[in-house]
Amino acid sequence: MTTPKLTLSNRDALGARRGRRLMYAALVLLALVFLAPLVWNALYALKSRSESASTDVHVLPQSAEWGNFHRALTMIDFGRYTVTTFMLAGIFALLVTASSALVGFGFARLRGRGRKPLFTLMLATTMVPQILTVIPTYVIFSKLGLVNTYWPWVLWGLAASPFHVFLFRQAFAGLPRELEEAAILDGCGYFRIFWQILLPLVRPVIATSIILAFTFVWGDFITPAIFLNGDNTTLGVAMAAGYTDGGITLNNVLAAGTVFYVLPVLVLFFVAQRSFTRGVATSGLKG
């Protein structure tokens, strides 16, 4: 800060320090509360079967039962659910990013009658409750034989998503006009301008879009619960169904499974926290 500090008396400085300490204490306490469910789940995953059923609650597991993680992977068809989830999330993320980049480019760099109302309409559709379309779509898709296949995710991906379009539109609109003008002079078509000149310049947005779309599908519950059945479902739905052994639910094994389920999202979050923040902040900054 280059601005000169306003004069502070000693008492003020002392009060400020005390306030600061109080604030840190409050923040640490809050942070503990926010972390508690995650930490408790991780610790629970290590509890033995008898301890996880005992009403004598200890924060730290009495003995670390690492076998729970193995059980979590083998008691249910974990691998298959993981592959399904990964495929759905990957297919959707790649397709929705490609289609949204195209649409975003169109809104940012091209002109046509009705461009503005169309853009406004697109933003307005984000206000349509998603659940309102999901259930009727299920009824239609079940008649078309698309239920219990990957097709719904392919179609949703191809259809572009207003939120992702918005991200790309903002990014493309911020690039200088000169880039494409030079290209036009050289006789370059618009698709090539999009593909070869402008798209490489918005790589961070591509990453953001893929990461957000991937985590969205990875964490989605209601769509796979409705559109997929039984063995073909995703990890999220499988976790919601839980682990049972002879009619007894195994919460410790489930906690271990939950750790595996959450881990990819957390890793993505820590590796690409900026992407998450950008996604959230861009959507929030503009009305």
Binding site: Y44, P129, Q130, L254, F276
Partner: protein, 334 residues
């Protein structure tokens, strides 16, 4: 010198122009290219939003049960039934109560945390990450973790309470289930916090310094500078949170206790949802997937859509009195 090009309308050849001022419209390519580029969204929106909604509207005038081919038109019967259905009213009241509590709390909480973290202090990045983290955890995992934390017999909270000498509280069933539902939604308030934090950091420091030179205390600076500058963001968050909250379905389903007890199980069955968590969409879901009343469910969906539209319209109308726009809203021209 910059070269701006335009296409000759007759020949389609690019024409170079030098030093032309910006901002004026010029045609340099056929407009079908614009439509070609935006067509994925236009077609997708028609096929995957408009058609399903229209189909739901048609269904809402029938007694379709989802399986058999025999259905008939029943006119507005589904809507009049809904109007006289005590379950619909109860679930609507519950949803309203949920929104009235959860929306202001999560907005205020997010803003409060953002204000705390906006001060230039050490380790703020760590705190920001910790508060933000829960909002990216998948909802299934969130619900499962909450069930473990709040389990009556083996949960962390009752463990702590027992240590202090308080009897075990059955958190996951009525009348406490609703409290847990609200806590679960508050756990994710970090998303709003990040947005507010971005907004706070965009406030020019000179503005706040000038105000404090003029003798404005922290409260007045917050009330007269920070809040007005943030108001478009708060407004946008309010609308989004409100819409998502009114259509809440998954959290009550996932928090519902399984028949056999334990954290998992029964999540796709709306009939185990506690009365306190029996939100509007839970009832709709049950009508579709537990009772196969597709026509009735579709009518309920459309009623919710109209309710959400009305609520949004009211909030939008109110916005003129409290949302402060400093610059032109339209950011499409640079």
């Amino acid at each position: 010198m910059t070269l701006l090009t335009r296409q000759d309308p007759a020949t389609g050849h690019p024409v170079a122009r030098a030093g032309r001022p910006r901002g004026r419209r010029w045609k340099r390519y056929p407009t079908w290219k614009f439509y070609a580029f935006v067509s994925p969204w236009v077609i997708g929106c028609l096929a995957l939003t408009a058609v399903p909604m229209g189909y739901a509207l048609l269904l809402s005038f029938t007694d379709f049960d989802g399986l058999s081919g025999n259905w008939r038109w029943v006119g507005l019967d589904n809507y009049t039934t809904a109007f006289h259905d005590p379950v619909v009213w109860a679930s609507l009241r519950r949803t309203g109560l949920y929104a009235l509590i959860a929306v202001p709390l999560s907005l205020a909480g997010g803003l409060g945390l953002a204000l705390l973290l906006n001060q230039r202090l050490r380790a703020m990045g760590v705190f920001r990450t910790i508060f933000y983290l829960p909002s990216v955890v998948p909802v299934v995992a969130t619900a499962l973790m909450f069930k473990l934390v709040f389990d009556r017999d083996t949960g962390l909270v009752n463990g702590i309470l027992a240590w202090v000498g308080i009897d075990a509280v059955p958190w996951l069933i009525d009348p406490h289930a609703f409290t847990i539902l609200i806590m679960l939604s508050l756990w994710g308030l970090g998303g709003g916090m990040v947005i507010f934090l971005a907004g706070l950091q965009a406030i020019p420091a000179e503005l706040l310094e000038a105000a404090s030179v003029d003798g404005a205390g922290p409260l007045r600076r917050f009330w007269h500078i920070t809040l007005p500058v943030l108001s478009p963001m708060i407004f946008f968050q309010l609308v989004l949170t409100l819409i998502t909250t009114l259509q809440t379905l998954v959290q009550p389903l996932l928090l519902a206790p399984a028949v056999s007890g334990g954290a998992g199980g029964g999540a796709t069955d709306a009939t185990h949802v506690q009365q306190g968590d029996f939100l509007y969409m839970v009832n709709v879901y049950a009508q579709f997937f537990s009772y196969q009343k597709y026509g009735y469910g579709a009518a309920l969906l459309w009623i919710l859509f109209l309710v959400i539209l009305a609520v949004t319209a009211v909030v939008l109308r109110s916005s003129t009195s409290w949302v402060h726009y400093e610059v032109d809203q339209d950011g499409s021209e640079q």
